[in-house]
Structure formats: C-alpha cells, structure tokens
C-alpha cells in the first residue's frame, strides 16, 4: 500500500527499514489530517501494523492488540531487529488464547514510536526537516484515533475485542471510552485510568537521563551522528526495576556476585543484578529511539481518562456502554497495582457496565502480563469464549 511519495522512505533508520519489510503499513491523513490533542494537524502520517489470521465475511472477528511502551507490532513472530520471539507469543498463536485460525488479529505500532509508524524520527512534511523535538506531543487518545483511522482505511467497522497491558491497557480504556460502539469487548490488563505521580516520577528520571546525555544534543543526535546510548540505557534500567517485584529481583539475583568470588571494591558490576540491568539497558538501545522514548513516556504521563472524558468522574467516561469488560491485575504489580484496576471496576459498575475482574496471584511484578501466567490465560480464554458466544462467533474451528 504505497501512498503518493511514501513519506520520505529514504530517511528510514535500519530498524525501521527492517520493520517495514516484515509488516504492513498505510499512509493516512493525506486528505484529512489527524487532529492531535495538542492542536497540531498531523498528516500525512505512516502507520505500521501487523496482522495474523483472516477477517471473516461479516467482519466480526477482528481483535486489536495494543502494545505497551517498549513492545511493538511484532506480537507473535521473530522480531526483525532483535531476532527475539514475539512479545506475546504466550497468548497469540495456533492453539493459544488468541488463535489466528479464529480471529483476525491486528497490532499497530503506536504514533510517536520507532518501529515504522510516524514519530519524532520522521520529517515534517511542511519543511522536510526531521521533526526531532518539534514533533507534536502525542497522547494515548491520539494513538487510538490513528488506529481507528487505520481500521476505517481497512474497512473494519468494529472490533470483537481490544486487548492490551500497561500502556496497551490505557489504549484499551481510551478505545472503550472514545469509540464504545466499535468495541464489543475490552480487556485492559495491568493498567490504570491515569498515570500516578509515582509513575510520572519514574518516567521523568528516565527522560532526564536521556536529556543529560551529551550525545543527545537537544534531540538532534542523528544530524550529529551520535546516539544518546548511555542516557537511554539508564532510562531503561530505571524503568525495568519498576516492571519487576522486589520478590522477583530477590529470587532471581539476591546478592549473588557476577563472575567473581569476592567484592571488587570498585564500581564494576559486582552484583548479578547490576550486570543484568546493564545488559537490559545496552540491548534496549539497539531497538529503541531516545526521542521516541521521551514522547511515548509523555503520552502515558498525560493519560487521565476521568479528566479527559468524564469531567473528573471516571464512570461518566463509560456512560451507557454496551462493551463487555474484563480487567486483570497482578498481586505483586506495584507500577499498576490492583487498586487501580479496582477503581476502574468501580467506575464501570457505576455505569452499570458488563465487567469481569480477576486479580492474578503472581510474584513477577508488572511484567507478569507478558509471562507464562496460566491463571491469566484461563481468565482470558473464558472471557473471550463468553464474549464470542454473545457475539455469535461460535467455536470458530
């Protein structure tokens, strides 16, 4: 689907080139630009997405997966840049909860990201200059509107299910609030209706680390041929701690030393946990763009569904909704603790919505939603089966 003068494809990074070669994309906003929340009209813009399975004849089996901050559209396949298995392989695939034999599964690289969709690395179509920090600040609602525009483009009227964890869960909530008639069922996992002060604080540490890196150069690092690798790595290290629970860190690493028998009395990575975090940081730099990290974390910080859609009352964001909801949280998740999901459940009850809510016992922290959690799979399987019955999708196979 190459639109007129595909947006400066010669300016793509290696990662973007590899990503776009392995997925589909659409150029949107050519005639009608996307009206961003910040007031900027964005267009044309590129949306990279991946699909698994086939859309059925009455277009009733589409499932949209919304990806979290550092994942992308390569949900269930070898990643074109890292070579790693898909980030939600455990959930998506033949015989899995989301089986491509039954559902038409779509995952869209969010606006502002760096895996093929338009973000700060792209060029401003007005002056041909790289956006960098002049790229408009996008929000979760903007990401969702871009996804909705893609569905229009693909001729998909509504979604059987919108599902996602963490930032993906925020998008799910935004979808349900903004386009209730297009969402038959919604599964927000390990998320919240707004980003808490603590979460904003951690993001700010990450952003400051990036901006304090002399290689960042005010966001113009590509023009200078530099990479703010150390700053981005520190941002990732900080964030990674928030994804794990204290128990998980203790169980995995304790105070075990790394490749040595005694303390080194220096600042090398004496401890395994240090070495692990350094590895997480350095590999992240290979697949993620520093400016994108600023933008996407900002989008999460700005998310406050009650303020944006309910005049301060979350229930009002869901008034009259016919969507079937299933919320999932994890006992050891301190980034998006169970009480945040419970607050959403309370609001949905106040809107008399059809809602299920399961808290899964796990010591793996926020990351649990990406891991092998049989209780979560059972929950999602049961919920989706109930929703499929209600939608008349039958057993599908």
């Amino acid at each position: 689907m190459q639109a007129p003068a595909d947006i400066a494809s010669d300016e793509l990074t290696d990662a973007e080139r590899k990503a776009l070669a392995q997925c589909r994309h659409a150029i949107l906003g050519v005639d009608r630009p996307l009206a961003l929340e910040c007031g900027v009209e964005l267009g044309p813009y590129r949306v990279a997405y991946q699909t698994y399975g086939t859309l059925n004849a009455d277009k009733s089996n589409a499932v949209l997966i919304c990806h979290p901050l550092t994942c992308d559209q390569f949900v269930a396949e070898k990643h074109p840049v890292t070579g790693k298995e898909g980030w939600w392989d455990s959930l998506v695939g033949p015989g899995k909860v989301l089986d491509p034999a039954r559902y038409f599964i779509i995952c869209v690289n969010v606006l502002g990201h760096c895996m093929g969709s338009t973000g700060p690395m792209a060029r401003d179509p007005v002056n041909g200059q790289p956006w960098n920090l002049r790229f408009p600040v996008v929000t979760i609602a903007d990401m969702v509107r871009a996804q909705a525009a893609l569905l229009d483009h693909l001729g998909i009227p509504d979604l059987f299910c919108v599902i996602g964890g963490s930032m993906g869960g925020m998008q799910v909530l935004e979808w349900a609030a903004s386009f209730p008639k297009r969402v038959f069922s919604a599964v927000p996992i390990a998320c919240a209706a707004h980003h808490s002060a603590q979460n904003i604080a951690f993001h700010e540490v990450g952003r400051q680390a990036i901006m304090a890196d002399p290689e960042w150069k005010g966001g113009e690092y590509r023009a200078h041929g530099t990479v703010p690798a150390r700053g981005l790595a520190v941002a990732r290290m900080t964030a990674h701690i928030t994804y794990l629970s204290e128990q998980a860190l203790q169980r995995k690493f304790g105070r075990t030393l790394q490749n040595r028998d005694a303390l080194g009395f220096g600042f090398d990575a004496d401890f395994q946990v240090e070495s692990y975090l350094r590895h997480q940081g350095s590999t992240f730099v290979d697949r993620f763009d520093a400016n994108s990290y600023l933008y996407i974390t900002r989008a999460m910080d700005y998310f406050d569904l009650a303020a944006a859609r309910g005049g301060g009352v979350l229930a009002k964001a869901f008034t009259g909704t016919a969507t079937r909801f299933c919320l999932v949280s994890f006992t050891s998740d301190w980034l998006f603790p169970t009480r945040e999901s419970r607050a959403i459940v309370h609001a949905l009850n106040a809107a008399a919505a059809n809602v299920s809510f399961v808290e899964v016992e796990s010591d793996k922290g926020h990351d649990a939603f990406l891991l092998d959690e049989p209780e979560m799979f059972r929950t999602l399987h049961g919920f989706l089966q109930g929703a499929a019955n209600a939608r008349g999708l039958g057993n599908g196979r």
Binding site: R324, C326, V345, H346, N349, A350, A351, A352, N354, V355, S356, F357, V358, E359, V360, E361, E375, R378, T379, H381, G382, F383, Q385, G386, A387, N389
Partner: protein, 203 residues
C-alpha cells in the same frame, strides 16, 4: 460454554423467580452455577459479585461476568435500577449490615431475591433449648467461633424487617430439611422451614 449441571434446589427456585431476558446481579455468586443457569436457560444478562478471589477467577474462566466484591460495601457503586433482579442467596446473614444491604439491593434492582437459613427451625430450637449448645445443622454447619453467620434470623424476623422497611414480599417459598417446598401457615412455616426464598420489591 460448559455443560450446565443441575443446580442446588434453592438456586433452582431462585432461577424460577427470574423472568427471562432481563438483567440480574448475583451477589455472592460462589462458583457461578446460578449465573451460568440464568445465562444459558433464561437469556439473562447476568453478572456476579463474589468475595473470594478464587471463586471469581473460576467464574470468569467459565465465561461469566464476575468481579471480586463485598455485599456490604460494593453495592453502593451501582446506579439506581441497574438490574431487574439483585440476588443474594444464603449470604444476608453473613453481612455486617443486613438492613443496609437489603436497602441497597432494592435500590440497585427493581426486585430482590433473598434466600436465608431459618434460625427458628425446630431442630435449631431443640439443640439450643435441650442441648444447651449453639446449634449445628445441615444448613448451619459451623461452630460458634468460626461461623461467618453473624446476623442469623428466623423467617418471621425477616418478614418483620421487610415490613419495617416498607418492602413488599411478592412471593415466599419455605423449604423443609429435605429442600422440598412446604405450604403451611406462617407460624408453622417458621417452625418447619429450614430455609426460605423471598421475592421482594419496593412498595
């Protein structure tokens, strides 16, 4: 959806009181057997609330719409008239504030269905009067120190509460110890009934 097994007699009586096609909330839905029945056989948009997270997870894994919640605190969230029926089976006596729970049920639901063990059943009376010990029976199988039932009442007590609250009893079915409906004048029903099911509405 899984095959529906026969449900407990009192649950069947409750299910029979529910008109098909409406909306129902089962408070304290346990393993969800009543919900599953209402969804499958009565085409009811049925939701559940359950205190135990294990129970909730099992229900949701069976495709039922259930949340973890407490009858004493979480009915307040729902708007007025959100449901045609709010059901509370064998749970009112375990709530902290039964009167408030009943009030909330009839605010949230157009009707309420309540089932209760009868503390004036003759076996209970005998055990207390002649045994001199707190009664343990089939429907009250706990020791005094570990019972969740902190607000036990008799059938007549419950009727009196309904009168006080201006709640109309549309139907009352009293079951004997073999879970068979009995048809007796109220003072005998209060003696021979082991449990009762009430269909209630605001007057």
């Amino acid at each position: 959806m899984s095959v529906i097994a026969p449900i407990r007699v009192d649950l069947q009586l409750i299910a029979d009181m529910v008109e098909p096609g409406g909306r129902a909330l089962d408070v304290g839905c346990g393993d969800g057997s009543l919900l599953a029945y209402l969804v499958s056989f009565k085409r009811v948009d049925a939701r559940g609330m359950e205190l135990s997270q294990t129970g909730v997870n099992a229900c949701v894994a069976n495709g039922l719409s259930v949340i973890q919640g407490d009858a004493d605190t979480d009915l307040r969230d729902y708007p007025d008239d959100a449901f045609d029926y709010v059901i509370l089976s064998q749970t009112l006596q375990a709530t902290r504030e039964p009167r408030e729970v009943l009030r909330q049920m009839l605010r949230v639901g157009k009707r309420a269905i309540v089932s209760l063990p009868n503390f004036a059943h003759w076996q209970v009376r005998l055990r207390l009067v002649f045994g001199g010990r707190m009664p343990e029976t089939a429907s009250l199988p706990y020791k005094w120190y570990d019972t969740p039932n902190i607000h036990l009442c008799s059938i007549d007590d419950f009727r009196a509460l309904c009168r006080d609250m201006g709640v109309r009893v549309e139907r009352a079915i009293v079951l004997n110890s073999k879970s068979r409906p009995i048809h007796m004048p109220p003072f005998l029903a209060n003696l021979f009934g082991e449990q009762a099911v009430f269909l209630l509405r605001r007057d």
